[in-house]
């Protein structure tokens, strides 16, 4: 087999050196009852060419070659060529977690740069080396807020990504952390601050708000933070569309829990992505996940290493801030290269293009909410599934029907435009959506 580098005679020599007669004897100490006495019921191995062929066929069964207006936490942004060039280098791709600092300075330096850029982007003092994704960063942020405040309730806006809230509930359930939700204003699509005022109490550890929210609306995070702070709670700001931070004022938050998929990470049917947690200096020791810090070597040269690991599971075991071990280092490196390529000016220009595309689309489609939005918004579509079927005939994947997550919005869909959305496709989407005779188009 091409992945196994030994010849039969080398194997024989090694077995002899071990004083073992046959490969089977290596397992002679296993109790007979636990042994598998038949071959695995899996087909024999196949060649490279056959593997490529298999996956090309599977890919062809997916929506290859369609224009898409799906966003909802996963965005289609151009991936600069440099990104895969860098992450395909074996030195990054095939290295381990950088515990051995002397031979891991490449990874450590890029993570230090990553942490710095996330701070610059979010306006926070400190950012970790990554979390699994945005959805798991949210419960980690809520648990962190609970440790800091000594309180146990989490209060999440209904405009936070519905799947993120599901993950929050799964984690919180056995932490003695009740999760409650507060609503949104039907007119604006932004959080209902009065509902927040009503539901917050002196046991609330975290108020969780997403901006731009799941409907694409920019939230008044500052106002929510003031309410949270008045009651001694922390404000957790969630983002799913990192490109928005190229133009939007950084959040007035205590903890930021975000998803970096927009930064050159392929949609890849839902993962792997990279989440982050960023916060203010005083809270750093309650932060989950790996951190890289600057130090010196014995010659006084600048060097980097993993640090503050007394927060982590391999040291603190059951008293750790989180059970997270593996993170998303290579994916975070994709985001690092992306941020480097676009830089200060480019990220702003990219955000402005997204803004322009989405607002062009919105001109022809009346958004259902009055709130300011970045690159996605909700439209009323009558029967969204029917409209989407009509669009599919034109090789367009329409917006996300919202009824699954918001029964009150069963007649609405969430549409997204990015710098990759072509004007002609947007015009076609508008045309079909505007047509009252969507059903006829289908026929």
């Amino acid at each position: 087999m091409r992945y196994l580098p030994k010849s039969d005679s080398e194997r024989r020599a090694m077995l002899d050196a071990c004083g073992v007669a046959s490969p089977e004897d290596l397992f002679a100490h296993l109790p007979e009852a636990v042994r598998l006495h038949r071959p695995l019921d899996l087909p024999p191995g196949i060649s490279e060419y056959e593997i490529v062929d298999y996956f090309r066929r599977r890919a062809a069964e997916n929506a290859d070659g369609y224009a898409s207006f799906l966003g909802a936490g996963v965005y289609r942004h151009y991936r600069p060529v440099l990104v895969d060039t860098v992450v395909s280098r074996g030195e990054f791709l095939t290295s381990y977690t950088p515990y051995q600092a002397e031979i891991s300075q490449g990874t450590l330096t890029t993570i230090f740069e990553f942490q710095t850029m996330i701070c610059q982007l979010t306006g926070m003092d400190v950012a970790n080396a990554s979390m699994y994704d945005g959805s798991t960063a949210v419960p980690e942020a809520a648990m962190m807020a609970a440790r800091i405040t000594g309180r146990h309730r989490a209060l999440a806006a209904r405009t936070v990504h519905p799947e993120y809230r599901e993950v929050l509930r799964t984690y919180a359930k056995n932490q003695g952390m009740p999760v409650e939700e507060f609503g949104y204003a039907r007119e604006s699509g932004a959080v209902d601050l009065e509902d927040l005022e009503r539901k917050i109490d002196d046991q609330t550890a975290a108020v969780i708000v997403q901006s731009p929210n799941f409907f694409g609306i920019i939230e008044d995070v500052k106002a929510a933070a003031e309410i949270a702070h008045r009651r001694g709670a922390l404000l957790v700001m969630v983002f799913t569309e990192a490109v928005s931070l190229g133009i939007l004022e950084p959040p007035a938050a205590d903890i930021v829990a975000g998803e970096l998929q927009s930064f050159a990470i392929s949609p890849s049917y839902g993962g792997p992505y990279a989440g982050i947690i960023a916060t203010r200096d005083p809270f750093v020791r309650q932060m989950p996940g790996r951190l890289v810090g600057q130090t010196v070597d014995t010659h006084g040269n600048r060097a980097f290493c993993l640090t503050l690991s007394t927060r982590e599971q391999h040291i603190r075991r059951e008293k750790a801030t989180s059970n997270i071990c593996t993170n998303q280092a290579l994916i975070a490196l994709m985001a690092t290269v992306f941020m480097t390529v676009y830089g200060k000016e480019g990220l702003r220009e990219l955000a402005l293009q997204n803004l322009a595309k989405a607002h062009y689309l919105a001109e022809n489609l009346k958004p259902a909410f009055s709130g300011k939005f970045f690159n996605e918004f909700v439209v009323r579509a009558g029967a969204p599934e029917t409209v989407n079927k009509a669009l599919l005939k034109r090789k367009i994947i329409g917006g996300l029907p919202l009824g699954r997550f918001y029964p009150e919005l069963a007649d609405a869909m969430l549409v997204c435009a990015t710098e990759m959305s072509r004007r002609a496709d947007m015009d076609e989407l508008s045309q079909v959506l505007q047509s009252r005779a969507a059903a006829e188009v289908l026929a």
């Binding site: 330096t109 994704d133 920019i218 792997p272």
Partner: protein, 492 residues
């Protein structure tokens, strides 16, 4: 004698922020084909940020040189052996990278209609089936993002099943040889942790276990083979003790590379387990992730698996979100799909017989290393080992040299260190896992390096203590890093 390496120059490189200057660019966007929008008007002036202070501005040439230069400061599997015990650092086949980037897979959106995601769903179904066959379990969820999240999922499944029976119970038992994620996971799942001592031979102590298992115990979390690389020969009896008291057996699958095709956890009493696709199934570690941590269960736990589940409806794959007893979601969408693609490519490449051959080679390599080194290093647990072997630094400690020093000296010989000071039950542990990836030549050079270092400890301990000597960065001051944390760059 250092055989494998000699030193070569490496480039110095400043941080991005230090080589940045206004107006440099590595990007170009297409001309906007729609009217530009005034940001203050569209977003509200108060919502529009000033420039991102400190963000880099570099050219494309500088960007590629920056990351290439930094990359050369790393060790990697592509350079050579990575004998990290419990980490299973095996070759990452490049075909896996290629297929994960095929456009119809890499650009698939998790919300695209099911009818246009059949290929992605088929990949997941096929991987689920293969993992169920390999583990001997009844059902598999691919949702967990990594091993630790797989553990959490598994323990939440146990809790859900016990809760349905009326009592989720209070405690999880964990052997003293366990990975740190096990107790951390049990705590997050709302359980208290009780450590169970191993026997003098380093395996589960059945008598201690029988005493510890009460009606209050939800499960035992066990790694098999354990972190000494020793197969838990009493695993079936341990399962019986647990099951008799209504408790469950959780297996940490970190060491599954010793068992594939040889023995199946489902056949020796395990109720639920996770796998690390970035260990046993060859997906790249990438400097710390991403991974994937599928969880395999017996039938009784299947109703509780995270939503959604895949099901067959009129000849097509569909998602079933409506599962009342599910523990809910552990992450958004369906899992680290790109990692799943790579793992399936690995399984397809090996096939059933090939996977077993890989296991045999992995165990042969570890047994061979043990044989070659046991005259030179203390072997605290003499039981037969499988895919890894654990020595202690007892002999070298007499000269004041600890496992961490030996590990750093190994770097000068051109190898990544083994796992240092783990498992905790071995004082001064040297935990060595070669995997099947290493050739006889590479292993012989590793063995020679270890023996040479053992000799250096006798002749020149001070030199060993100062190692590594040949790296561009010498030993780093980790104490300083923790005492005065500098966690981001700031202008001087």
């Amino acid at each position: 004698m250092i055989q494998k390496v000699r030193s070569h120059q490496s480039q110095n490189e400043a941080l991005l922020f230090e080589r940045s200057s206004p107006g440099k660019r590595a990007w170009q966007l297409p001309e906007l084909d729609v009217p530009a929008v005034d940001a203050a008007g569209a977003l509200g002036a108060a919502n529009v940020r000033a420039e991102i202070e400190g963000f880099p501005e570099v050219s494309e040439v500088e960007a590629i040189r920056h990351f290439t230069r930094l990359s050369t400061w790393n060790y990697a599997i592509d350079y050579g052996m990575y004998p990290l015990g419990s980490c299973t650092m095996k070759y990452n086949p490049r075909i896996n990278e290629l297929v994960a980037r095929i456009e119809g897979l890499a650009w698939a959106h998790p919300y695209q209609p099911e009818a246009l995601a059949q290929g992605a769903m088929e990949v997941m179904v096929r991987l689920e089936a293969a993992l169920a066959e390999i583990t001997g379990m009844d059902a598999v969820t691919l949702q967990p993002a990594a091993g630790a999240q797989g553990e959490l999922t598994g323990i939440l499944l146990i809790r859900a099943l016990l809760e349905k029976g009326g009592n989720p119970r209070q405690r999880i038992l964990i052997p003293d040889s366990a990975h740190g994620t096990n107790p951390a996971t049990a705590a997050i799942a709302g359980y208290t942790v009780e450590n169970v001592k191993s026997t003098a031979a380093g395996v589960l102590d059945l008598e201690a276990l029988a005493r510890a298992v009460t009606k209050d115990v939800a499960a035992l979390m066990v790694t098999n083979p354990n972190t000494l690389g020793v197969f838990e020969e009493n695993i079936t009896q341990a399962a019986e003790i647990l099951h008799a008291k209504g408790a469950m057996l959780y297996m940490d699958g970190a060491n599954m590379n010793a068992l594939v095709g040889i023995a199946r956890p489902g056949d020796f009493g395990v109720d639920v387990m996770h796998l690390n696709l970035h260990k046993t199934f060859s997906t790249p570690h990438g400097g710390g992730g991403p991974g994937a941590g599928p969880v395999a269960v017996k039938k009784a736990l299947e109703p509780f698996l995270p939503v959604p589940r895949l099901k067959r409806v009129r000849g097509k794959w569909a998602y079933d979100f409506n599962r009342k007893r599910s523990i809910g979601r552990v992450r958004a969408f369906y899992g680290n799909f790109g990692v799943l693609v790579r793992a399936l490519a690995y399984i397809l490449a090996h096939g059933g017989p090939g996977l077993r051959n890989a296991t045999v080679d992995a165990v042969l390599n570890a047994v061979y290393i043990r044989k070659r080194l046991e005259a030179h290093f203390d072997l605290p647990y003499p039981a037969p080992n499988m895919h890894e072997v654990v020595f202690s630094d007892e002999r070298q400690a007499k000269s004041g040299i600890r496992t961490g020093d030996l590990a750093k000296r190994l770097i000068d010989y051109g190898f990544h260190p083994y796992t240092v000071s783990f498992p905790l039950i071995v004082h001064g542990a040297l935990m060595i896992e070669p995997t099947e990836t290493e050739s006889k030549l590479e292993i012989d050079q590793f063995v020679a390096a270890m023996i040479s270092i053992a000799n250096e400890v006798e002749t020149d301990p001070e030199m060993v203590k100062q190692a590594p000597h040949s790296t561009r960065t010498s030993r780093v001051d980790e104490v300083l890093a923790a005492r005065k944390p500098v966690l981001r760059w700031k202008p001087a």
